[in-house]
C-alpha cells in the first residue's frame, strides 16, 4: 500500500430529489458530508445497515451519481481528476480507470451474449482495442486470471453456477485494466463456499495487478477477513474509520460496537441475546437532529440530541464521530 490516496473525499454529499409536483419536492441526503481517503493498493471496506448510503458513496466515487456538495478526487500516477467537474474526453478516460463489479451476476449478465462477448463489451464500448485479435487476446488473458477457460468463453451465462457467474462479472470489470474497483455486494446471499472462492480470487487479483478496492458488504466477518481498512456508515454519515484489526479489537463508536455484537457466533454455547440494538435506522428524509444515531444509542446523553458530533482523529488513524468516545474507553465493553 502507498500513502498516496487514489480517492479522496472532502465534505462529500449526494442528495436525491424525491417526490413529485412543484411544492412537495424533498431532498433525500443519501451521503452527507463525508471525508475519506482511500490509499492506493488498499482493500477498503465499507459497512453499515441497509440504506446507510454505501452504494451511493461508491457510485459517487465512480461518478455515477451527481455530487451535490463537497469534493471528490481521483489520483493515480498518470492523472488527477476532480470528480465534481470531470467531463468530455477526461471523463471517458476516467471510465477506463474506475470500474464497478456487479455482485448480482444473475441480473447483470445478458442471457443472449456469450461469455466472451460479455467480457469484451467494455473494450468495444470504450474503443480500447483496435482489432478483434487484440480484443480476444485481452479477453483470454483476463479470463485466465479469473480461472475461466476457453471452453467457458464460448458458452452462455445461464449454463454457469453462481460462482462461475461471479468470475465472469469480475473479468468484465477488469478487462479495461482499471486501477480502482468498487465491489458492491448488495445481495449478500452467496453461499459461503462460493463467497470464499470469490474473495480469494479478488485478493489474488488485487495483489497481482496492484488494484485498489472499495468493498461494500453487509457481512462483517467477510470484511474482517478481506479488508485492510474499514469505514462504518450510518444514515449517510461516516461514524468511524480505522485499520481493520484496530476496529475489530477496539471499536470506538457505539454503533460499530452494536454491529459487532449482532454477528451470530458460531459457538452454540455463546447465545448472548439481551443487549441488542433496538429499532431500525431512521428514514433519511426524516433525520433526527444532533447525533444521527441518538434514537438507538444505548449510551445517549442529552447533548447528543442537540449537537451533532464531529469526526475526530486523535492522531492514530482511528477516527470516530461520537461525543462520548473517550469517556466510553474507560467503561467496560458492552
Amino acid at each position: 500500500m502507498s500513502e498516496k490516496p487514489i480517492i479522496s473525499a472532502r465534505g462529500l454529499s449526494v442528495g436525491f430529489k424525491i417526490g413529485s409536483g412543484l411544492f412537495n419536492k424533498t431532498i433525500l441526503k443519501a451521503v452527507d458530508n463525508v471525508s475519506l481517503d482511500i490509499k492506493r493498493g488498499s482493500f477498503f471496506g465499507l459497512v453499515g445497515e441497509s440504506g446507510s448510503g454505501k452504494t451511493t458513496l461508491g457510485r459517487a466515487f465512480l461518478k455515477a451519481v451527481p455530487i451535490t456538495g463537497g469534493h471528490a478526487a481521483y489520483n493515480d500516477d498518470e492523472v488527477s481528476y476532480d470528480l465534481g467537474t470531470l467531463t468530455g474526453p477526461e471523463l471517458k478516460d476516467f471510465r477506463t480507470r474506475a470500474q464497478l463489479i456487479f455482485q448480482d451476476p444473475y441480473a447483470a449478465l445478458s442471457p443472449r451474449m456469450t461469455v466472451r462477448d460479455i467480457i469484451a463489451e467494455p473494450l468495444e464500448v470504450m474503443g480500447l482495442t483496435k482489432t478483434r485479435e487484440e480484443t480476444d487476446a485481452r479477453v483470454r488473458e483476463i479470463a485466465a486470471k479469473c480461472r475461466l477457460n476457453l471452453e467457458h468463453l464460448r458458452r452462455f451465462p445461464h449454463a454457469f453456477s453462481g460462482g462461475q457467474r461471479q468470475r465472469i462479472s469480475i473479468a468484465r470489470a477488469l478487462v479495461s485494466r482499471p486501477n480502482f474497483i468498487v465491489a458492491d455486494e448488495s445481495v449478500a446471499a452467496l453461499d459461503v463456499s462460493i463467497q470464499a472462492d470469490v474473495l480469494n480470487l479478488l485478493k489474488e487479483i488485487q495483489r497481482e495487478m496492484g488494484l485498489t478496492f472499495l468493498f461494500i458488504s453487509h457481512d462483517l466477518s467477510v470484511v474482517a477477513h478481506t479488508c485492510d481498512h474499514l469505514a462504518v456508515m450510518y444514515l449517510g454519515r461516516l461514524v468511524e474509520t480505522a485499520p481493520t484489526r484496530t476496529l475489530f479489537k477496539a471499536p470506538r463508536h457505539p454503533y460499530t460496537k452494536a454491529l459487532f455484537s449482532a454477528i451470530p457466533s458460531l459457538d452454540p454455547d455463546d447465545r448472548k441475546g439481551g443487549q441488542r440494538l433496538i429499532g431500525e435506522i431512521p428514514s433519511p428524509t426524516n433525520q433526527p437532529p444532533g447525533c444521527k444515531f441518538h434514537t438507538r444509542c444505548p449510551v445517549v446523553i442529552d447533548r447528543c440530541r442537540i449537537e451533532e458530533p464531529k469526526m475526530e482523529d486523535p492522531g492514530d488513524g482511528h477516527a470516530v464521530s461520537c461525543h462520548r468516545w473517550k469517556e466510553l474507553l474507560a467503561m467496560p465493553a458492552g
Binding site: 462461475q164 459461503v192 480469494n200 462483517l220 477477513h225 481493520t244 451470530p264 457466533s265 452454540p268 431500525e280
Partner: protein, 332 residues
C-alpha cells in the same frame, strides 16, 4: 418428547423439458414439540422444496415416490400430508398445524390488502371466531412481535413497512393461528445483522412461549448455531449429516460439513485463510452416482464412493452421517 412431524423416505422429482430432476432424495427426519431443527445447505440443495413438501405446496410438476411420507401428528390424529387432496383437507397443513414464513416477506402479503385484513382472513379460515375477536388477536400478535403502534400498522399495507417490520408482521401472521410447527425459510437472509439478531431473539422467545416446533432454513451456520437444537445438512437433495447442533458444528464428520465450516470467515482468527469447497456443485440433471459429493470430496476413498451410495452411519445415538469413511468396519 412428542413428535410433531415424521418425514419418511421423502423423494421428490420435478418433470421438466430436460427430463426428471431429483430435488429431494430419500430424506427422513423427525421434529418434536419445542424443538428447533436447522436445515442448511448450498443454494439449490433442496431445502425449500423439502419444506414445501411438508405443506404439500410444491409446483404442479412435482412427483413424489410412493414411499414418501409426511406424517403430521395433531390432537385429532395422524395424517399423511402427501395424501391430502382438497383445499379443505389441506387446511391443517397450510396455516392450521403448520405455518410458513418466507425469505421475501412481500411474497406472503397481497399488495392491495392491508396487513390487518389478511391476518383476520387467516384467522377466520382456521378457526370459528368472529371478526371482532380476530382483529383483537391480530393486533395482540403484532404487538407481541415488537411492532410499535400495532393498531395503526393493522391498517397499513406491506409496502409501507420497513424490511425488518415486514418480517415481524409476517411472523405475527404465521403465528396468529397458533400452529404447532413453524417453517421459516431463510427468514433473516435479507436482513441486516442488527435486525437479524432481533428476529432471532423474537423467534426464540416464541418457541419458548408457544412450545412449537420450528424448521429454520438458512445457509448461515452462525444463525444455526444461535437458534437450532439439531441440524440437518443437505447436499444435492440428500441429508448427508444430522445431529445435535453442538455435535455437528464442533465435531462435523462429513467431508462436506467440514468443508462448509472451513469456508466460513472466522472472527477469532483473521489470519486463517478462507478455504472454499473445491469445484462447483453439479447440475441437478447430472447427479453423480454413488456418493453425491464424490466429485468434490477431498477425502474420497476410491471406487466405492463413485459407485456405491453411502448409508447413514451412527456416530452416536443422535448423530448420523452418510459417508463411506464411517461405514461399519471402516476406520473412524
Amino acid at each position: 418428547m412428542t413428535a410433531l412431524i415424521d418425514v419418511q423416505n421423502l423423494t421428490l422429482k420435478f418433470r421438466t423439458d430436460e427430463g426428471l430432476i431429483t430435488a429431494v432424495d430419500d430424506v427422513s427426519f423427525t421434529i418434536n414439540r419445542g424443538e428447533v431443527m436447522g436445515l442448511v445447505g448450498e443454494s439449490g440443495s433442496g431445502k425449500s422444496v423439502t419444506a414445501k413438501a411438508l405443506m404439500h405446496l410444491n409446483a404442479k410438476n412435482a412427483v413424489y415416490t410412493p414411499e414418501s411420507k409426511v406424517l403430521l401428528h395433531t390432537d385429532a390424529g395422524t395424517v399423511d400430508v402427501l395424501k391430502l387432496r382438497t383445499a379443505k383437507e389441506l387446511k391443517v397443513a397450510r396455516g392450521g398445524a403448520i405455518s410458513m414464513i418466507f425469505q421475501e416477506p412481500m411474497a406472503s402479503f397481497a399488495p392491495a390488502i392491508t396487513i390487518g385484513s389478511q391476518m383476520v382472513e387467516q384467522l377466520l379460515i382456521h378457526s370459528d371466531m368472529n371478526k371482532a375477536r380476530a382483529k383483537e388477536i391480530s393486533i395482540e400478535m403484532l404487538d407481541r412481535v415488537g411492532i410499535s403502534d400495532p393498531a395503526k400498522r393493522f391498517d397499513q399495507y406491506a409496502f409501507e413497512l420497513s424490511g425488518g417490520m415486514r418480517q415481524r408482521a409476517m411472523i405475527a401472521m404465521a403465528l396468529s393461528t397458533k400452529p404447532s410447527l413453524l417453517i421459516a425459510d431463510e427468514p433473516t437472509t435479507a436482513l441486516d445483522v442488527t435486525i437479524q439478531a432481533q428476529v432471532i431473539d423474537l423467534m426464540k422467545d416464541l418457541v419458548a412461549e408457544f412450545h412449537m416446533g420450528i424448521i429454520f432454513i438458512t445457509h448461515d451456520l452462525g444463525v444455526i448455531a444461535q437458534t437450532a437444537d439439531k441440524v440437518s445438512v443437505m447436499y444435492l437433495g440428500k441429508i448427508i449429516e444430522q445431529g445435535p447442533v453442538r455435535e455437528v458444528i464442533r465435531h462435523a464428520k462429513h467431508p462436506y460439513t467440514q468443508g462448509l465450516l472451513a469456508a466460513l470467515p472466522k472472527l477469532d482468527d483473521l489470519d486463517a485463510p478462507l478455504t472454499p469447497v473445491a469445484g462447483d456443485i453439479p447440475s441437478p440433471l447430472e447427479r453423480p452416482p454413488g456418493c453425491v459429493f464424490h466429485t468434490r470430496c477431498p477425502q474420497i476413498i476410491g471406487d466405492v464412493c463413485k459407485t456405491k451410495l453411502p448409508v447413514d452411519a451412527q456416530v452416536d445415538a443422535s448423530h448420523s452421517v452418510a459417508c463411506h469413511l464411517y461405514a461399519e468396519g471402516a476406520k473412524v
